[in-house]
């Protein structure tokens, strides 16, 4: 009982089967997920995947063709943006050019009928949190991109909104500033206890900032989970490829008395009988094996057995902390290996035929 109550209290927003059609084009296709209070969720995906449409639907700038949107348990589907109590930081910040920084931050309070003195006090507090107290009387165009972003963040947070939306927060910043602002935004939103939904196409940004990541593809929610879950247990080739680096090997499945084998030309993966991944595979003929580059061991050629493969080294790159090998398999497909086992790799060179080995635990199988 108690657990159920807590669970209810922890839900900040729910999307229920939200779809958006533009003519025959499905910009959003039956998207459902829950946002927990206080979490930082990133919607990640390539352009046109529906992540921005989702964000704009949450903000209320577009109305879904089907489905419901609940904020704090209340149905907000047809409610206009100004009545949703949502804060938003726009991609190019959308600061009001004719207002000072303090006026910009105070605007959401002004629309809520808060008196000037109180408004200025709270805006100033927020400005201190983002570290720009000395810029209160400046105009947006007199500030750098990073400073403008902090003002935009302060404006989105100052009225303690139920949810804060970040639209491609790093897109307008140069590369150097990005890393710094990622950490800073994370700290600030945590400090004020905000519930955040961010949108990006940059997987690194998503990994750095998010408690959970929702991966979008072609208007559908492909998978949602913590960065760790998505990396360890991708449910599709797309997710495996999008989060981190992945080798995707396609092979045929064979059911053996003691387990299941997936094999291709010059490699195989064998799973013991009790492995749930293997059990799920018995019904299919082909499967995709996800092998992370750092999970493959490069070994001397000719070592036979299960959970192994062989190929020819195409490139060997020394990166200081590790080696990177590109190995061409018999069927022409390429496998990336990252290894810190300098002793094993030092003697290998491009053109050599080598063996590869992996453990059943390091493998994720995606049914195909």
């Amino acid at each position: 009982m108690n657990a159920v109550l807590q669970n209810n209290a922890a839900t900040a927003m729910t999307l229920e089967g939200v779809s958006k059609l533009y003519g025959p084009v499905k910009a959003l296709d039956n998207v459902s997920f829950e946002l927990r209070k206080g979490e930082f969720l990133t919607m990640l995906g390539p352009s046109g995947s529906g992540k921005t449409t989702s964000l704009r639907a949450i903000a209320g700038f577009i109305q879904p063709t089907a489905g419901r949107l609940l904020i704090d348990g209340r149905d907000m589907t047809g409610v206009p943006p100004q009545k949703r109590n949502i804060g938003m930081m726009f991609q190019d910040y959308a600061l009001f050019p004719h207002m000072t920084v303090l006026e910009n931050i105070g605007y959401p309070l002004e629309t809520r009928g808060i008196k000037r003195a109180e408004r200025e006090k709270r805006s100033m507090e927020m400005l201190e949190i983002v570290g720009l107290a000395h810029c209160a009387t400046r105009y947006p165009k007199e500030m750098s991109g990073g400073q403008q972003q902090r003002v935009a963040l302060a404006r989105a947070l100052v009225f303690k909104p139920d949810i804060v939306l970040l639209d491609e927060p790093m897109a307008a910043l140069d590369k150097k500033l990005r890393g710094q602002m990622q950490i800073e935004i994370m700290h600030i939103t945590r400090q004020v206890g905000a519930t955040v939904v961010s949108v990006t196409h940059d997987q690194e940004e998503a990994l750095v900032m998010s408690d959970r990541i929702a991966i979008f593809k072609d208007g559908r929610l492909e998978q949602i989970g913590s960065p760790h879950e998505l990396y360890q247990q991708p449910r599709s080739e797309f997710v495996a490829d999008f989060i981190g680096e992945a080798n995707l090997l396609h092979g045929k499945t064979r059911v053996m008395p003691d387990g299941v084998v997936v094999e291709g030309d010059g490699w195989n993966v064998s799973l013991p009988k009790d492995d749930p991944q293997g059990q799920a595979l018995t019904a299919t003929n082909t499967a995709c094996v996800v092998l992370r580059p750092e999970r493959i061991r490069a070994v001397a050629a000719g070592s036979p057995g299960g959970n192994a493969g062989e190929g020819v080294i195409e490139d060997k790159i020394y990166l200081g902390v590790e080696y990177r090998l590109v190995v061409r398999m018999n069927d022409g497909s390429k496998v990336n290996i990252r290894s810190r086992d300098v002793a094993a790799i030092a003697g290998m060179k491009a053109g050599d035929r080598i063996g590869m080995a992996w453990a059943p635990d390091d493998i994720v199988i995606i049914g195909a």
């Binding site: 903000a59 209320g60 700038f61 206009p80 943006p81 100004q82 009545k83 949703r84 109590n85 949502i86 804060g87 938003m88 726009f90 190019d92 959308a94 600061l95 009001f96 050019p97 004719h98 000072t100 303090l102 006026e103 105070g106 605007y107 959401p108 002004e110 629309t111 809520r112 000037r116 408004r119 200025e120 805006s123 209160a136 009387t137 400046r138 105009y139 404006r155 009225f159 939306l165």
Partner: protein, 296 residues
């Protein structure tokens, strides 16, 4: 041959570094400058000279002591102010639709706005007579509808003059407004609404202030043009609604009092310049006040 090669025939790249630069851009504007000097500045100075025969200010004295002249000048400003206000009020939503209504709307509204430009001013003013006169289309229609019994007097009234003037000034007011509005990022209005503001609040607090430079530019243009209107008030107004340009024409064409006509023209010019200056000063004051109240 040698001489010409040295003087100007040599290509620029072959010139010694110390030689004169290529002829300045002045020569490009020379024809325009010459034309204006000859046919505009010179006649203008001549006009001023005519208004001051032998350095005497008698014509100006006459203007500022004769109630009729003062009344016409006052009426000209009054009508121009009202017309400017109405024109902006009509032009503002029109320009807004052009700036933010999408490509099809922009095309339609632009064509609708520019077609009248291809029709002469005279013809357009005459068209208004056809529409507004007692047996004109509007009165006929209203009578046929049974809304009125006798024709309403539309023409030869200040109302008729103003309708004609607003119509003619509309494109001049729309275009500067449109130029400013299309640069206003509509995402600012989205930002305003997510900040909790209704559309109206966002318009008053964000959009309208950002469009003010366009309003000012349109107002200056419409007002200064309105001050000099001649044909439209002559055709659509009664003699009682006479504007200063008609009076100037009267002095030249009918009274053959070139001196007084010239003096009236100079007065109109000076007053227009003063109005222009006041607008500019008001704008500058508004801007500096906006900057000064930076502390919220």
């Amino acid at each position: 041959m040698n001489v010409s090669a040295q003087d100007g025939g040599a290509p620029a790249s072959a010139r010694a570094p110390w030689s004169l630069p290529v002829p300045s851009a002045f020569w490009l504007i020379a024809p325009a400058v010459l034309f204006l000097a000859l046919f505009f500045v010179f006649p203008l100075l001549k006009l001023v000279a005519i208004s001051l025969p032998g350095g005497s200010l008698e014509y100006y004295e006459q203007i500022f002591t004769t109630p009729v002249f003062l009344r016409v000048i006052g009426e000209t400003f009054r009508v121009s102010l009202i017309v400017t206000f109405v024109t902006i009020a009509v032009a503002y939503p029109y320009a807004y639709a052009m700036a933010h209504g999408g490509r099809t709307v922009l095309l339609l509204l632009t064509v609708a706005l520019l077609i009248p430009f291809w029709v002469s001013l005279l013809l357009r003013s005459f068209s208004w007579i056809v529409l507004l006169q007692n047996s004109g289309l509007i009165n006929d229609f209203l009578i046929a509808m049974g809304l009125i019994e006798k024709p309403v007097r539309l023409i030869r009234t200040p109302f008729g003059v103003m309708i004609g003037m607003v119509h003619i000034l509309l494109p001049y007011a729309v275009l500067p407004l449109y130029t400013v509005m299309k640069k206003i990022d509509l995402r600012l209005m989205e930002a305003s609404s997510i900040c909790g503001a209704s559309w109206l609040k966002g318009f008053m607090r964000i959009y309208f202030p950002l469009s003010l430079p366009g309003v000012a530019a349109s107002a200056i243009l419409a007002f200064t043009l309105a001050l000099g209107f001649y044909i439209t008030p002559a055709l659509l107004g009664s003699p009682r609604d006479m504007m200063i340009a008609q009076m100037i024409a009267g002095q030249f064409n009918e009274q053959l009092n070139f001196g007084l006509g010239a003096a009236l023209a100079v007065v109109l010019m000076v007053l227009t310049a003063v109005a222009f200056g006041l607008f500019g000063a008001a704008r500058a004051a508004l801007q500096s006040r906006g900057r000064a109240k930076g502390g919220v």
